[in-house]
Every structure is written in C-alpha cells, then in structure tokens.
C-alpha cells in the first residue's frame, strides 16, 4: 500500500518482537491476539447461540456438544481475553484521544517526560486485568 509514513518492513514478524521497546510493545501484541481471538470466538458464537431460535431441543443439543472441561477452559480463555482487551482498550482509547498523555510543559531542567505517567497507567492496566481475570477464574472453577 502507498503509505505516507514509514513502510511496514517487519510484517507479521513485527507482532512478536519489534526491537528495544518496553513491555508496552508486548501489550500491543497481546491486544492484537486477544482481539483476533475474541473475533473468532464471536463468529462461532453467533451460530451456536442462533439455535435458541429453533427451540429448546436444538438449544439443549447444542449445549451438550459445547460442554465439558475443554470448553470450560476455552470459555475461560475468552473471558481472560475480554478482561485484558477491555481494560487495555480503555487505556488505548484514552491515550489516542489525548486524555492520558499529560500537559505540554516547558523543557526546564530537571526534564520531565510524559512517559512516566503512561507507564504507570500501563502497569495499572495489567494489574486490573489480572484481578478481573483472577476473579473470573475463581467464579469459573471454584465458586461455580
């Protein structure tokens, strides 16, 4: 594609490792993976849940196919992907719309950068997503 910016020379390899950037670079990979995983699940989900429009027998039969420990584990992974993608999505939206970037200040010594604040935000996102995923895990496997 004709781009006005830099050409994407890394291709798919760039998803996994992009060089010497910090852990936010891997949050990008994770956001992409979780988004794609949710999309794949969701597409199948539309077909599975549509059987409820046919009637109780069709629904019960479908549910008996998609049950068991393997599906429970898969559904938990969907929940965890949702937890990360949602919380990190709020961070991305906030930064992209300029809310979490910080005010411009004069470059007076000792210099400050907005990266410190953004890094704190990224850490908070990881912690919140972890807590939500943990809570989901308890509900899935312990309190069910």
């Amino acid at each position: 594609m004709q781009t006005r910016g830099h050409p994407n020379r890394l291709g798919i390899r760039g998803w996994v490792g992009g060089g010497r950037w910090g852990f936010e670079r891997y949050m990008y990979t994770l956001h992409r993976l979780s988004g794609l995983a949710l999309l794949v699940y969701f597409t199948m989900h539309i077909f599975v849940t549509s059987t409820r429009a046919v009637g109780p027998d069709a629904w019960k039969q479908t549910m008996s196919v998609v049950s068991g420990p393997l599906f429970t584990m898969g559904e938990y992974l969907v929940f965890a992907a949702f937890a990360f993608h949602a919380v990190n999505g709020i961070r991305l939206g906030a930064i992209e719309l300029g809310f979490a970037v910080g005010r411009p200040i004069e470059p007076v010594y000792p210099y400050q950068t907005s990266v410190g604040g953004q890094r704190r935000l990224a850490r908070a996102v990881l912690m919140i997503a972890f807590v939500v995923a943990l809570w989901g895990g308890l509900d899935f496997f312990v309190w069910k």
């Binding site: 594609m1 988004g35 539309i46 429009a53 949702f82 809570w135 308890l138 509900d139 309190w143």
Partner: protein, 126 residues
C-alpha cells in the same frame, strides 16, 4: 478523512461493547458471584434462563446492538491488521468488500436469531 471517520466509529463501538459485553460477561460468567449476592441462582445457559431473556425486549434490543457493535469493531480491527501488511490495490478491494459482506451477513443472521428467539421461547411454553 474517510479512514478517520471509520476509526472513530471503531473506538465508539469499543465503548458500546465495553458496557454491553461487560453486562453479558457478568450474567454469563460471574454466576457464582451473582448467586452469592442473591441476584441469580439458575444456570445462565440453561433453557429456562435463555427463554426468560429471550422474552425480554431489553435483551433482544441490546443483543442486536452488541451484535452490530462487536461485528463492526472486530472486522474493522481485522481489516486494519491486514492493511498493515501492505496489500496491493486489488487485494485491498477484496479485503474491503469481502469483510463487509461477511460482516453484514453475520449481522443479518444474528439479528434473525435474536428476533426469532422470543417466538421459540413462547411456543415451547418458556
């Protein structure tokens, strides 16, 4: 300009999904927590619960909204990922048209399911 508009909708759809899917996840997956709070004690994917939700206008409407928002957000995000790999002009058109057609077809099918579910629920005496 056009891409910016589509992207803004992508972010807007994210906000809608956040609310609606958040609710969906709590109902479907935090049933242990909801039971503890005394809000719900039936199995959320059992036919009785499914039929009860199907009979509610709130769930029907929010499911169609979530369907549209998540399909747009997901397929537009997927399109962005593919565009980053610098496809040629023809491949780009195939991606744009192909993803739009698949997305719209899924939306039509899912909307049919959401609108037909109340009928199935009442016919079965749910």
């Amino acid at each position: 300009m056009r891409d910016r508009t589509l992207w803004t909708w992508h972010i807007g759809a994210g906000a809608v999904i956040l609310v609606l899917l958040g609710l969906h996840m709590v109902i479907m997956h935090l049933s242990g927590t909801l039971g503890f709070l005394g809000v719900q004690d039936a199995e959320p994917t059992g036919w009785a619960s499914v039929a009860a939700r199907a009979g509610s206008l709130f769930f029907t409407l929010t499911y169609v909204a979530l369907l549209g928002a998540a399909l747009y957000h997901g397929f537009y995000g997927f399109r962005n990922i593919l565009m980053e790999l610098n496809p040629g002009r023809t491949v780009r058109s195939v991606i744009n048209v192909g993803l739009s057609v698949v997305g719209l077809a899924l939306f039509a099918f899912g909307t049919w399911a959401a609108l037909a579910a109340p009928g199935a629920a009442t016919m079965a005496g749910g």
